[in-house]
């Protein structure tokens, strides 16, 4: 049974790629994921805030009260050099490359076109096989147009594309007016993969304290409908590879997304809930389905139910809504 696929120019033995999550913080976990069958790993994201602010935070606290008082010209031992969060991230990539055989995809999460882009190069130098850009932007300014927002994405991508030679993917927000257009423009800029979609941290309100508390809600299979539609629509319309990254919990989910056109399906919530062994279970399920449905290779599955391959493309479009209503009636 041939489960192999390609993603960002990488030959992968199967379509299961754990997406960015705290699971990849230790070498041991990544090894486990490899052992259970993961074909590549997207590392946890290094946040722009971390890159920009962590060293500043240290600098602030180590110097703020210094040279203020005759008896204490400083409050901490003098440190000649320190490893900031990003340095640790790079070291982590180096260690992973020594410890596992599967490709390692670095991940940067940011919102501005700033100095952190240089960091992409460092990730490349550390040995990452590819880089995922997670542009996390919530517009709150009413005068900001959709063009402005899109331009932010393009600027960052352009900068990073110029910095690195390794393949890059962009993790998208589902909230563009025209996803296909954004996808195509990114495609034209040389982006090698589109990851759909970013699962934003959604705010919640604590009713006792009246504080806004950010929290992460783990996804369920229901969430895959969103990437399913857009992968199906974008399949073959862009050169970039397509990765599905929300709602991948079961072998059925994987198969659906590959049918729609995904090169890889990325798992996160399911692994956080059940551990890396879940990968093996999903892979076994995919194999069983392929046997039952007589698909010898996954590549043949891929895209067979994309927007352009299905009998009724409107089923991925608005008319689909009308149909749903009718069937309900």
């Amino acid at each position: 049974m041939d489960l192999s696929t390609t993603y960002l120019g990488l030959e992968l033995k199967n379509p299961i790629v754990p997406s960015a999550s705290p699971m990849s913080r230790t070498v041991g976990n990544v090894k486990l994921m490899e052992d259970y069958g993961a074909s590549a790993v997207v590392l946890f994201s290094i946040f722009e805030e971390q890159i920009r602010h962590e060293t500043k935070e240290l600098y602030h606290h180590l110097t703020y009260h210094a040279e203020s008082y005759a008896e204490a010209t400083s409050y901490f031992p003098s440190v000649d050099e320190y490893h900031s969060g990003p340095d640790e991230y790079l070291e982590h990539i180096r260690k992973l490359k020594e410890s596992v055989a599967i490709p390692i995809i670095g991940s940067i999460n940011g919102v501005t076109d700033g100095g952190w882009v240089d960091y992409a190069k460092k990730i490349e130098q550390a040995g990452a096989d590819a880089l995922e850009l997670n542009v996390y932007y919530i517009p709150t300014n009413v005068s900001l147009t959709s063009d402005d927002v899109e331009q932010t994405y393009f600027d960052i991508v352009k900068d990073v594309r110029n910095q690195v030679k390794i393949p890059i993917s962009v993790k998208l927000s589902p909230f563009f007016t025209s996803i296909p257009n954004v996808a195509q423009r990114l495609d034209n800029m040389g982006v090698n993969g589109l990851v759909m979609f970013n699962r934003f941290y959604q705010p919640d309100i604590n009713l006792d304290t009246l504080n806004v508390e950010p929290g992460v809600l783990l996804s369920t299979s229901d969430a895959l409908r969103l990437p399913l539609r857009w992968i199906a629509i974008l399949y073959k319309k862009v050169k970039a590879d397509l990765a599905a990254t929300t709602g991948v919990h079961t072998s059925e989910d994987v198969i659906k997304l590959v049918l729609a056109g995904a090169n890889v399906t990325m798992m996160c919530s399911a692994l956080l809930r059940h551990g890396p062994r879940k990968i093996r279970e999903v892979l076994t399920g995919v194999q069983q389905w392929m046997v039952e449905h007589e698909y010898p290779a996954l590549k043949e599955v891929r895209g067979s139910m994309s927007h352009q391959s299905v009998a009724d493309p409107s089923s991925f479009e608005r008319a689909n809504y009308m149909k749903a209503l009718q069937s309900y009636m």
Binding site: I51, R52, E54, T55, K56, E57, L58, Y59, H60, H61, L62, T63, Y64, H65, A66, E67, S68, Y69, A70, E71, A72, T73, S74, Y75, F76, P77, S78, V79, D80, E81, Y82, H83, S84, E88, E91, G115, D118, L210, N211
Partner: protein, 1202 residues
Amino acid sequence: MSSNEKNSLREKVTIDGNEAAAYVAHKTNEVIAIYPITPSSNMGEWCDQWSSEGKKNIWGTVPVVAEMQSEGGASGAVHGALQTGSLTTTFTASQGLLLMIPNMFKIAGELTSTVFHVSARSIAAQGLSIFGDHSDVMATRSTGFAMLCSHNVQEVMDFALISQAATLESRIPFLHFFDGFRTSHEVMKIEALAINDIKAMMDENFIAAHRQRGLTSEHPVMRGTAQNPDVYFQARETVNPFYTKCPDIVQKAMDKFAKIVGRQYHLFDYFGAPDAERIVIIMGSGSEAAHETVEVLMEKGEKVGVVKVRLYRPFSIKHFINALPKTTKSIAVLDRTKEPGTSGEPMYLDVVNAVHEQFTAGELPFAAYPKIIGGRYGLSSKEFTPAMVKAAFDELSKPKMKSHFTVGINDDVSHTSLTYDPLFTTEKSDVIRAMFYGLGADGTVGANKNSIKIIGEETDFYGQGYFVYDSKKSGSTTTSHLRFGPRPILSTYLISKANFVACHQWQFLEKFDMLTSLIDGGTFLINSPFAKERVWDNLPLSVQQQILKKKIKLYVIDGNAVAQKTGMGGRVNTIMQTCFFAISGVLPKEQAIEAIKKSIKKTYGKKGEDIVKMNYAAVDATIEHLYQVEYPNELTSKIELPPVVPNYAPTFIKEVTGVMIAGNGDSIPVSKFPVDGTYPTSTTMWEKRNIATEIPSWDAEWCIQCGKCALVCPHATIRIKVYDNKLATGAPETFKHMLYKGNDYKGQAYTIQIAPEDCTGCGICVEVCPAKNKKETKYKALNMVPQPAVREQERKNWDYFLTIPEVDRRTVDVKTIKGSQFLQPLFEFSGACSGCGETPYVKLVSQLFGDRTIVANATGCSSIYGGNLPTTPWTKNADGRGPAWSNSLFEDNAEFGFGFRLSIDKQQEQANELLIHLIPQLGEEFVNEILSAKQNDELAIYEQRERVKKLKEQLKGTTTPEARHLLEIADTLVKKSVWIMGGDGWAYDIGFGGLDHVLASGANVNILVLDTEVYSNTGGQMSKSTPRGAVAKFAAGGKPVGKKDLGLIAMSYGNVYVGQVAMGANDLQTVKTFLEAEAYDGPSLIIAYSHCIAHGINMQYGLNAQKLAVDSGHWPLYRYNPALPKEGKNPFQLDSKPPKIKFEEYAYNEIRYKMLTKMAPEKAKRLLKEAQDDVMKRWRFYEQLAAMNFGGHAPQSVASEH
């Protein structure tokens, strides 16, 4: 460069005296045992840093550095290491040196080679002082140590080596000393000794001999015998030949050093006219000012000279007399110390004796027996200027000279002081002199140190930097004095004629007179929030006057705006530094900018590209925003400077305290001072520092009247009163009040008032406020607002608030947060850090028990913010009662407070005896009422006070000795609460022995440990309270062992009340613990978690840090009450819940832990795991303790009011 070339390289470096001493000490020793004390702490810190970086000594091994529990301990360890053959050193000063004296006698008595490097500092007498003089070293004269004095930073490095060489050859231990602060902290460009220089000075034969004398079981001997009258005397005299030879050995070492390095020194160096008649003898940094003065006086043809004393002990009469010109007629010996009751200060007596002995021997080389006078100068870093040196020379010209004079002060009591001409100056015109006024927090000093380095490296100029700090920990101001010139700078005094003055904070214009020091036509740079067109009109009138009069060149920059724009936050350091270079012309502008950037890269390059970029951006933006101001030739300002203290202040406040506050303490004459160090309390209230940019504003609409804001306020600037509603009607218009919500004061008015000019703006109150504005949840019942806009209005409101009577203590339920905060704080407006974690506990003591409290305060942060002049936060209530406070030492505080208790108890016992004796006059019933009074609550104490008042009235009419005696001590019949306070450095380390003894004594004292888990006052050195994994000085790699469980040790006695509290986690438990501890008739120990700037946190969120410490189990809350087993109850009650977050979640909220992950990630992981294990082990153990059955029901823990 080959390694040999590198080892021969003598680099020009810009460093301070402490670093210079430490450099040689680290290169020439194997064992270093120290204990932090200002101003010597940095020497140990440098050595610790170099050793932790793996830097080796000249024999290729990394010296071991051990921090001890006290200087006594350090000297013991040094003695031990020496006795076993290691090259060993230590660094200390002041009280620390005194604690070493016993070992110094031993070390010298055993003829052991070592060098102690001492940054000489005042001794605590009528008051403590951290500043420099020779009181400490002079107290060690009889120990047998040789004493070699360095006069400047270059000499510190040179003499550190010369003394090391001389001690090995002579076998006499050396005390190498230099002036605290003036030399220890003065930054200077010097030539560093090359490794090969150091090697060349070390004679391996002497080192081998030192080792061979070490104790070893291979060749056993004994040392340290006890000797009897038959032999001790003779044995003591055996060492004489060694002392006789010592001066020549030192001179030999100096000569050898001159051959190797090129700088020639002598035991006594003379500078002056070859035919000088008037001679000043002086030792230490003051000799530099004297040298400068002699130079100028000689140019005027005066026959004067100065002898700089270098080797003070052994005092070589021969060398001394030979150093004097044969033409000498009169001598003034200047001592930087005070020996009350003596016939003369030490060096004066040495000189008198030297002249006398040579005269007796018939070897006096002078035409006539010279006149010799002695004088004192420069105590506690008092300024010592050429004008004062000249005054001493002038005195030598008078027919009737004043001996035992003082110079530099106005002694209008004993009339010892010489008058001097303050306008006399020796400053040369080719020396650039710049002064910078900054805030501690704006980075001014750091930037200036950097500027000196830049100029030192980029030019042939010599540079000097000296930095003056005020004694506050919040909003502290710094003044930097920088000189640059073509010759080595000898001006060991502050700048009084500056070419350049920079004001880094606009508000200083109303606080300090900065322009008196600026020369005509000089340059004045202001960091101004006003655009260049508006600056002039916003300057105070007096500033405008001086600018016009002196035709000053005025420059401005909105440094804060540039800082904000470039991400520098509140740090204007790089910006103002760039301005200095751009304007001053010390370097060509382009070269200067490049040099600043190079220096930024060097300083921050390894710490993050972003920081480098941020600073670069600040440099570039500065040039664009720096403007010269064209001002009109007329005065336009309406801004007059307010008086420092109001006219209605008491006389002492106006004549002494206010003058100190204004920065003119130097001008106060002797007669104005208390003779015994006794000062009035209630003085911070006059200071009105106005350091907050934002202060809280109360929104009564949402207030739930919980009182938490007042409880946590570190500076007692939030006050709460409940009062007669009628009083609210006469209040100023903006005065806020609401109806009290509870039943206890139903119908009364309730006000929360902020002291606008005393608040430091920490924001802790807003953080703790639980009441949200329900219409807009970003607001609370307290919100920060800009201070200047509300200052005037709130000042009036505050003044009105003070006129409202305090709540009657008898009516208050003190067990609640709300109730406790109706009690007037008798500790207010301290100089502690903004957001301090200690002061809320101190304040709480003052609220709950202040009217009957006597405080023994260990030296440390709490003694500084509690008792550093000019003002004290300890205050009195309307009845004139309040805490009486004293600081003895660092190490003896528990014993000191124990002494209070012994004394008060004894007096009370006597009073009781006298009462019984006087029953016939006083009446049995009345006496019994007094004797049997329980005094266990506010009402009962009030009633006892009333009885004692009545008693005193009755006694006044009686003349018997018993009645008179009882009248003197009758006040002790009212309960007195003894509080012994200090930090963890005191309680866990240096004072632990005494603390332990006092706990064991059973005495009724209350011990409050303000536990910051580190030495905060001296700058973050590890204590035995420092937790595992935290980074501190002397634990740069993270503390490898867990903290001492002081509470558990105290509990082991069984009769000690022990409470562990953290106000931020459970404020109600804190209040309850304080009440129980005080009520317990025996020793009580409260260990209070105190967040601190040394933790590396945002102080606004300090209470949250406390909560995390408790939630993680790092800081379990508990109370151990020895009274409970009698009721069949377990004395130990755990008041916090099992750990509910990981240790990591608490720890990595603080830089002290987090920085280890950046320095040594693997080690950080290991220590984190071990620390987590510590937490769980301790928790399980405590759980078992709490579960033990004492026969009754388990007591209830205190639930939080949250």
